[in-house]
């Protein structure tokens, strides 16, 4: 039998002026398993905590119930006090009689006192069934893997190596650099890419901590945070290694236009990448027409690919800078030059004579071939009329789309992709470089089309996230996880389907098929508990027995009152 101690807080007037604390304490004393019940003016004060700790020791309490305010702010404090007095911190139950009682029932003191009694009876019922829990620990293999050797992946890898962490870079092509291999200069500040990539490569190549695998792809992947097993096919051979964390940096690719705007028929209609190649070779045209939002921001592919406007601004200015007389026109639907430097680039382009014309989705430009290039007829929304312009080249700004093989990578890593095929982060607002699966991170255009500086920032962010468990050497495993009663488990697999974190798998224990919770991955939500038809799955600290006991305590309590 558990010895339960109940400590009721007055919280000054906040509880004490509404709830008859002394009466509640007397009531608590006669509850089953209660060894001692007491009250404090402020349980959370030094004095209050001191008296709770003293009582735990003197009364040899096994479990502590505090009836006061909210666990959201005060639970850690009381748990710490329990620990200091030698009671496992999970043998503690918080009953909220302030926010959930005295503050809302201030006008009905009687009812508030009765409610406080019942809440405490429920708390004691649950507390009597609590079992000690321990946050687990798993060791972390101090090695990271980065999938993809473009700017985001290289940055992540270089940062990890520079932090002293052994890192594998897995690149599918024969050389590092990714998309930037085909782009010589990036905006908005016209930085050359070759030295950027070269320095990152050199950083990695000179470090014994870095292992670069070219022409490689992952063929098998298992394990979880701290302990992943990776098998890669590297050219003709396969290699195995273990890592503690994985960063996905597989990037994106330029959409090849389908047969729109004469692409493929009119040779002077080219893609942005093709233009990059020509400009890198020093050949600037005398006139150019850029068409923005080609095959995006339209039904079927609704998204804006974020970077194309700035790429166009950069290339328009490169043309003008090498040939001040060049005629450059940008046909667009909105210029997306957000921020400081990009907006300045937009202004500079306008001031340098680049002409910007806005077209509508319903009246896209029409292209026809000409002897010395192509001519474009467009309905200018500002001028409200059709305009004909001609250019030596027409550049189609197509969006960045998700990388080839994303679905396969997603499946291997058990992480999700969004409807456009980009990887789906754990939370779009606050966890942009994490997956819901612990130990796997994401950066760069594999998540969403991103500018180089953004890719670098995300690469660093992913490196930080991967470094945290590795530096710590261990990961703390949530104590409030699900656990399987092997005997009861029928191996129906409902829990596997219900788990949003891929934390449950079917396994065989002593020749018996049953579910197994990987505690390192379990977040303790308990959805599997409700999905289990057999009560075989239980959530520590919230077992159905404990909840049932709370309900019984409430009802028993009410019936007794009714009898009175």
């Amino acid at each position: 039998m558990q010895r339960v101690g109940v400590f009721v807080c007055h919280c000054g007037h906040n509880i004490g002026s509404v709830v008859d604390v002394e009466k509640v304490v007397e009531y608590a004393k006669q509850l089953e398993n209660v060894a001692v019940a007491d009250h404090n003016l402020y349980s959370c004060s030094e004095e209050g905590l001191g008296s709770i700790k003293k009582s735990i020791r003197e009364n040899k309490l096994d479990v502590v119930v505090v009836a006061a305010c909210t666990p959201r702010t005060h639970e850690p404090l009381f748990r710490r006090a329990c620990e200091q007095a030698g009671v496992n911190k999970y043998l503690f139950e918080f009953v909220n009689i302030r926010e959930h009682c005295s503050w809302i029932h201030a006008k009905e003191k009687e009812a508030a006192t009765e409610k406080a009694k019942r809440l405490i009876a429920m708390g004691v019922a649950k507390a009597s069934l609590l079992t000690p829990q321990k946050e687990g620990e798993a060791s972390v293999i101090p090695v990271a893997a980065v999938i993809g050797g473009g700017i985001a992946g290289l940055t992540a890898a270089a940062s990890l190596v520079s932090q002293g962490i052994e890192t594998h870079v897995i690149e599918k092509e024969a050389r590092l650099g990714g998309l930037l291999n085909n782009i010589s200069v990036i905006g908005p500040e016209f930085v050359e890419t070759e030295p950027l990539i070269r320095r990152l490569k050199e950083d990695l190549e000179r470090s014994p901590q870095a292992h670069i695998h070219l022409e490689s792809r992952i063929v098998e992947l298992g394990g979880f945070i701290g302990n992943f097993d990776i098998k890669i096919a590297e050219g003709a051979k396969t290699t195995d290694f273990k890592v503690g964390a994985i960063i996905v940096a597989t990037g994106g690719r330029e959409l090849e236009p389908t047969n729109v705007y004469g692409f493929g028929k009119i040779p002077t209609v080219i893609t942005q990448m093709e233009l990059e190649k020509r400009l890198a070779g020093g050949a600037a045209p005398s006139s150019a027409i850029f068409i923005q939002c080609v095959e995006c921001r339209q039904p079927g592919r609704e998204y804006c690919s974020r970077i194309c406007c700035n790429v166009t601004l950069k290339n328009a200015l490169r043309i003008i800078r090498s040939n001040p007389n060049a005629r450059v026109t940008v046909l667009h639907r909105d210029i997306m030059s957000y921020g400081t430097t990009a907006e300045r680039l937009y202004r500079e382009a306008s001031e340098s004579g680049v002409s910007f014309m806005r077209y509508g989705l319903e009246s896209p430009p029409k292209i026809s071939e000409k002897e010395d290039g192509a001519s474009v007829e467009v309905f200018d929304e500002t001028l409200n009329e059709n305009i004909g312009i001609s250019g030596e080249i027409v550049v189609l700004a197509t969006p960045i789309i998700s990388q080839e093989g994303t679905a396969e990578t997603a499946k291997l890593l058990k992480v999700p992709a969004d409807k456009n095929g980009f990887f789906l982060e754990a939370h779009v607002k606050l966890r942009p470089v994490e997956f819901a699966t612990d130990g796997v991170f994401i950066c760069g255009s594999a998540r969403w089309p991103s500018h180089v500086t953004e890719c670098i920032a995300q690469g660093l962010a992913a490196a930080a996230k991967a470094a945290i468990p590795i530096r710590g050497g261990k990961v703390v495993i949530e104590a409030i996880t699900a656990e399987v009663d092997v005997e009861r488990c029928a191996a129906c697999g409902n829990c596997v389907l219900a788990c949003p974190y891929e934390a449950i798998e079917m396994t065989v224990i002593d020749g018996k098929r049953c579910a197994k919770v990987n505690e390192a991955q379990c977040k303790g939500c308990g959805t599997c508990v409700a999905a289990c038809p057999n009560d075989a799955m239980q959530q520590k600290g919230f077992t159905t027995r404990q909840l049932g006991a709370m309900i019984d305590a409430l009802i028993k309590n009410c019936k007794e009152e009714a009898v009175e």
Partner: protein
Amino acid sequence: MKENVVVIGAGIAGIQASLDLADMGFSVHLIEKTPSIGGHMAQLDKTFPTNDCSMCILSPKMIMCAEHENITLHTYSEVDSIAGDFPRFKVGIREKARYIDLNRCTGCGDCVAKCPSKVPSEFEEGLSIRKAIYLPFPQAVPRKMTIDAENCRKIKDNKCGVCLKVCQAGAVDYDQKGRIVELDAAVIVIATGFDLMDATALPQFGYGICKDVVSSMQFERILSASGPTGGHLVRPSDDKEPVNLAFVQCVGSRDAKNHLYCSSVCCMYATKESILATEHAPDVKITIFYMDMRAVGKGFQEFVQRAKKSHGVRYVRSRPAKVQQANGDNGVLVSYETPGMTGEPVSEEYDMLILCPALLPSSSTREIAKMLDMELDDDGFFRTPDIRYPTDSSKKGILICGFSGAPMDIPDSVSQASGVAARTAELLSGGDR
């Protein structure tokens, strides 16, 4: 010994940087000038494009900061001085007197109920009042009171003293003095965020002149369930539900006379606030006057399409020239030119107008820059000169994240904040590249 890292500014960028640095094992000192951490994100009702409740996702991080063994919070504190160089900076922190013993205050609020001195609430953007002794918002961290000396009758005039009397915890101390804490820091992270431009500087938009012109942050509070109107969409002049609302984008930004740059987030938050407004008041009609609809993030275009198609939001590409009082005290008259070459000047009446002003580098940004003798860029943000290190300032060991480096949304700020942790680890591992 754990190396110290000082993080200046406890908005979402500073909070995230602190958490990641602390998780890496550094000893973090997080400095915040207001009484609570949380920054602007705490004021937001929802976040785009998922309309996640802002406080719901922020509050757990705030609590984590308070509980982390490697984080020391210095709220209601400012940087007094910074000296030295990487990796041996000396930082002086001025902890202002809050006249409250933090060890004793239980945050119960008995004192607030009795305090007679009423002051416009900063958190509610002046739309409601707080007391001179106050908790800036219910989820504040730390959940401890602060006495604002300027408005306290006891401290100012030696009258009143009621809070001392009602506090059963004995936490009120009118004689408390501010103090300077000297710290060694290996790395300093600046996350000083933004301020909204004061739109009274642009009288053509009617802010401060017409009652029913509000800033977007004020509107955010009006929409918030925990805000001054309890989530009821009403306009300030007569507390009536508006039927016809308009937003004006790029107020003071993308404007050669004021701020050249684009604040990056206004298109999306205006779209979000429009959707939320129609959710509060299904019949409300909304117009957004914009220049370019910059919906460049994940799910953003779809969000704008949703606003158009499902919520009937009208997007008009035009910048209003003039905002005047409509007939009587309520509503406004907005004059603008219809889009296109044949644009004609028109005037339309709206019940309420929301301005999306330029988001400026915060005043702290300028102060810190001055203290460090660092030059800011042409737009007033910290320079990050090397593209390889987008969070490194021009001074080694001083790192920048979030809005103090350039306008950006929450996920970009959070990414940079984590990036700063990686850079700190690199710098302090000696493996500098």
